[in-house]
Amino acid sequence: MMRKEIRFRLNGEEMVCDVEAHWTLLYFLREIMGLTGTKEGCGYGECGACTVIIDNEAINACLYPIMEVEGKDVTTIEGLVSQNGELHPIQKAFIEEGAVQCGFCTPGMIMSAKALLDENKDPTEEEIKEAIAGNLCRCTGYVKIIDAIKTMGGGR
């Protein structure tokens, strides 16, 4: 198969990459870029562990053709930490509120939360649940995850 060149932004950086047409974004991130913070929990868009943000929207990287990334702005969990190593406030909230147990769902969960908060600064509990309904977690029962996201809003 021919490799194709695509250009896009990844965590704020301009990228020019040779890719194969059948790759998913998830495969590209984990296997080519070594960005293993984005997890594969199922490969079918049913668990949300691979959630990343493309042009302000949360998507499942496991179902996203790499060829569609052309010209887009991709943010992964690795892109949330600032240049000087400061964690994003959502990451801090997850730590402080006890929203992390085994942690496998955590990066995807945080990306879903970020997409929500970027669009809606003070979401209600229902809106939070709706936004993370596609991110399965088996450890936490979601309660402290929801609490962590709540602290980001006006209810802080």
Partner: protein, 289 residues
Amino acid sequence: MRRFEYHKPETIKEALGLVTSLNNARFIAGGTDILVALRQKKAEIDNLISLRNIGELKGIEYGDGLWIGSGTTHTEILKSRVILEHYTALNDGVKNLGSRQIRNVATIGGNICNAAPSADTACPLLVLDAKVLIAGINGERWVDLDGFFLGPNKTVLDKHELVKGFSLPLFPKNTGSSYIKHTRRAAMDLPILGIAARITMDDGKEGATCREARIAMGVVAPRPIRAYETERFLVGKPLTEDVMEEAGNIAAREATPRDSIRGQAWYRKEMVKVLVGRAIKNAMERMGL
């Protein structure tokens, strides 16, 4: 994952040209169904032709009716005020479809063309009298949505055709619509049963009679279906509890569900009886009655 080539046409014409000339070619819209099928090796495809970059397929327009481009995502539909206010059943259908992540990429065209009996936009579009605009290399044609579905994952689309979009009429003032998705889980689920209703009353007052009714049912047959007999029964009647109950009974006779791991046939039939009435009630509430 099977290896394939990926094509990104920017016009419908280009897309149709590619699908006609390439071997083992299929269109891909949001990809949330087809990429799963590819991964499960349920599809043998050498060329995927993306519809995502075709501007003509996108967008919602409201004027002397509603036009929804097939490439419109569920999230875009969810954000439409016009659809929420005038085509509420469709808002209902999209609201609980998949997850946020899925809705952000999956398109209404994909949901309809995949033609699953459980497709969440199918019943709403059926009761909203949607017409499908199909584009092929030899031109365009219109099909009623009811005539579009043939069976599970089967439609009238020729493999070299694509759906351009859906046209929905304007409805009179005293119209309300709704969709109920009956599931085991509160999110990330397929319906055990889906029931959509649209009701137009002859005037907006209580005690008035039904002028036009549409009832559609999902997962009760090999394809989403209209409950014609139920619709005929409702017309001309005041929508009392008794009438709604009887409508549920009639609809249950029109339903031919099967047992599956997702739900048992008897239960689906029972739910038709219950949910037809509830869907009608929801539709009436939206009318402001």
